[in-house]
Symmetry: C2
Subunit: 203 residues, 2 copies
């Protein structure tokens, strides 16, 4: 039995929870799974966690937050609003691949039943929308985009992206990931008054 400091242990618990969530999904993650994942007893988890609800929410925040962080960094490095949006679309679907988007599906569904999860998924969703809205605002300020309401446009583009990805992930057919990116990018072009193909690459 390895004795760790509270801070480290908390981190280990969160990491183990994320790993289990990736493997089994949020709804199927249990305290015993987490304990087994880090090779300790289940009681230890509860010694640091006030409830399963907030643990799942915190773990989701870490998992989904990493993707958000990665995308934010990638966008900051891009030069110019157009390049920024191209990267946004490319990394969004890649980042959400496999288990990541499944976590979002779980979070949206569990939101009704788990207050902490609802709060977190809401906050992270807004954060994604803000990443997009900020990029749009910059492009509008530069005069490269033409958009009346960056906030609303961001919600629309993000929602189309989510709606399409949802079909691709949940049903694994009908819509392939290339179409998800291309269709969303084309929608963004029309939303921002860009020439056809400037984002999607297909005129």
């Amino acid at each position: 039995m390895v004795r760790l400091s509270p801070d480290v242990r908390r981190d280990v618990i969160l990491d183990a929870t994320v790993r289990v969530m990736r493997r089994k999904g949020m709804a199927a993650t249990t305290v015993r799974d987490i304990a087994h994942e880090m090779g300790t007893s289940s009681g230890l988890v509860h010694h640091y966690v006030e409830s399963m609800d907030v643990l799942l929410a915190d773990a989701f925040e870490r998992a989904a937050g990493e993707d958000l962080q990665a995308t934010s960094v990638a966008l900051a490095q891009a030069s110019g609003p157009v390049a920024r949006l191209r990267i946004f679309f490319a990394t969004y679907v890649r980042a959400e691949q496999d288990w990541a988007f499944q976590l979002w599906l779980d979070a949206w569904a569990e939101a009704v039943r788990r207050p902490a999860v609802r709060e977190t998924s809401h906050r992270l969703n807004v954060a994604w929308q803000q990443v997009l809205a900020t990029a749009i605002r910059e492009g509008t300020a530069d005069g490269m985009f033409s958009c009346d309401d960056p906030e609303a446009a961001a919600w629309r583009i993000l929602s189309l992206l989510d709606g399409l990805t949802l079909q691709a992930v949940a049903h694994e057919v009908d819509i392939d990931r290339t179409s998800v990116i291309r269709w969303s990018a084309r929608f963004a072009e029309s939303e921002l008054g860009l020439a056809a193909g400037s984002l999607s690459g297909v005129p």
Copy 2:
């Protein structure tokens, strides 16, 4: 104890399951809830149902299928493709209000874990897409719409609708239902080469 014929009893069970699902969501629906809902014992449910998995799938099919049916009927009564689409948007969000869309969220999330649910939600999703695609095809044949690929356009419009509704239902803020309809209708206008406002009412 009321003695019913197998067919009637099966119907009663399905109805009770739908009612419980509406109230508590798919993931939180239990055999005992269903039995209590129809005022019988829990054993009776399993006497007619092979497993919880298929019962949930069947009940979801009935609940979501009723909405689909209602929309199909309403669309058939409308005169002309434009009126048809207006009704589509109006009834989609209304029909999905409250509990109905939550069932879809549950279905999409549970799809990974419950094969029967995945099959059903996939089939119903395609059915919705086909309702839309058919209306678009008719409008294109009439020369009122301009659309290269009605199938793909239907997926895009439906996905935007789902993505926006998702935010409204799961987070209950940021996007109100009026915006969901208006934004989706405007997107459809651009997809189908219609004049601004012909579907959304806002030029």
